[in-house]
């Protein structure tokens, strides 16, 4: 395997509505910041790959329009995934492994304030039996949370504790949308949104963009003070029909974690893409994380959630802490689909 390192990362503020900005206008400063963070210019980039969803913009080919932010002249090697940009990272990682490229610029963006994200997400379900019923993402996560409570492994208090940690961690994150000191008791006194979920158990909906630069090991060694290596990466998908899988655990996460080598050495922190608080608990279990592992030191998706970026942001936030010397070995996780259907796990190391 060829060494691949995260060289630079940037994220826009995560806000409920980026009023007066379009996708390209949100992206341009973020792309420039990620390149600057990597000590590179566009001329150093062999491949550009993005993740976004045209249903969010409500316009066909909005991902092609976003290329105006890149400066694709005279032309460039480019690709797009209609998935979280973490999968654009995976495609770029594969392309480096193939030997065809040495560097890649990855980005994701969403202006989710244009539409209703929970309803839009219902349309990614099976088109014959589920999508016509419009089951929104919050209701599906609530069904999953109820099943989790019925196992007796967790109580609603545990969900609230995840939120307390997220809000507290987010105090140190200037891009976070939701932050603050809150108590479990205060959270449990809040009304239900979709029982057993309260509003704070659900990720906020954010407008924004993120970008990352990765490079093959030889480039990383010459440019980065402290390259963050992707030591292992894998993703696994489960069946489409929710009734056919155990929603109280995540087999795909466990398999991906095994393949990525999570258990091979001590993990210090983990950035997990759990858009709903109970899913954090499921992921912690399935990843086999010890209780002392710091989970979502950025605040995670409960503090800010740019759909199509939130997975890439887990890589970026974990890498940022390794570069700063806060940790040497971290887990980055990304998810896609309802109720943790599709999961990616990576191990990032500073050595």
């Amino acid at each position: 395997m060829r060494d691949v390192a995260i060289m630079g990362y940037a994220q826009s503020p995560q806000v409920r509505e980026a009023r007066g900005l379009n996708e390209v206008e949100m992206l341009m400063p973020v792309l420039q910041a990620a390149l600057a963070d990597a000590h590179m210019t566009l001329a150093d980039i062999d491949f550009v790959c993005s993740g976004s969803c045209d249903y969010i913009a409500g316009g066909a080919f909005s991902f092609v329009g976003a290329l105006d932010a890149v400066g694709a002249t005279p032309c460039m090697q480019e690709s797009h995934v209609e998935m979280d940009a973490a999968w654009a990272l995976y495609e770029s990682w594969l392309k480096i492994q193939s030997g065809h490229i040495r560097t890649a610029l990855i980005y994701g963006f969403a202006k989710a304030s244009n539409g209703s994200l929970p309803d839009i997400l219902s349309q990614q379900l099976d088109p014959y039996y589920l999508a016509p019923l419009w089951p929104d993402s919050i209701s599906l996560a609530a069904l999953q949370a109820n099943l989790l409570l019925q196992t007796g492994r967790y109580a609603q208090r545990d969900f609230a504790e995840v939120v307390v940690d997220s809000r507290r961690h987010a105090l140190a994150n200037p891009n976070a949308q939701l932050k603050g000191e809150v108590t479990v008791e205060a959270l449990l006194a809040e009304p239900m949104l979709a029982p057993p979920l309260r509003k704070h158990d659900c990720c906020p909906i954010s407008d924004g963009a993120s970008a990352m630069v990765i490079a093959a090991g030889e480039v990383a060694q010459s440019l980065a003070d402290r390259p963050v290596y992707i030591r292992g990466i894998d993703h696994r998908m489960e069946v489409h029909q929710l009734g056919q899988r155990d929603l109280t655990t995540s087999v795909s996460t466990r398999q991906a974690a095994d393949r990525a080598g999570v258990g091979e050495d001590k993990i210090e922190l983990a950035e997990l893409y759990a858009p709903f608080s109970p899913q954090t608990l499921i992921l912690q279990e399935s990843l086999g994380l010890r209780p002392d592992v710091v989970v979502n030191p950025s605040g995670g998706p409960l503090a800010g959630h740019i759909f199509m970026c939130a997975g890439l942001d887990r890589f970026g936030e974990a890498a940022r802490r390794i570069r700063a010397g806060t940790a040497d070995r971290a887990v980055a996780h990304a998810t896609s689909g309802p109720c943790l259907q599709h999961n990616m796990v990576a191990v990032l190391e500073g050595k």
Binding site: R19, G20, L21, N22, V24, E25, M28, P29, L31, Q32, L42, Y55, G58, L67, D68, A69, V70, G71, A72, T73, S113, N114, G115, S116, D119, I120, Q123, P127, Y128, A131, P132
Partner: protein, 175 residues
Amino acid sequence: MDIDLEPVAVFEAPIYLRYHATSARAITPFLHALRRGILLGHRSPATGKVLFPPLGSCPESGQPTSEEVVLADTGTIISFTTVHLAIPGSKLKPPFTVANIMLDGADQFFSHLVSGCALEDVAIGMRVRAKWRPASEWGYSLENIEYFVPTGEPTVDIPTLKAERLRLAQERRHA
């Protein structure tokens, strides 16, 4: 199970999603100008080229653009075609001519309708001018221009025009 059952060919599951989009940083002044009958472009700081309509970025460099340039409502036909087939949902009745028009002062063409002459007289290099709708009908749309009509000026050689525009852009960039 009766294997002779007719296959189900149709079931209805209507999909509708509502969006609430607002105009962005670069488009907003462009639309307000259009409402007043003014065509506003942006000059790219990276290439010196004038972009119309302005989208807030220079696609060649990925750099933001903000320098506004007021453009004439005259231009040159770069290419055109005549549509003879009715387009579903379109209010345009065929035959009609769509042209790529480079406004005077711009380095990028945009598409609009050409009329006011016989279809077969439309030509590449033809000089055209906007035929505006009455000002009382103006909105935030390029439909304020009903179509472009020939000015009667001599036809322009496109390679010469492009070379001249490129030279001017480079001069501006180096200025």
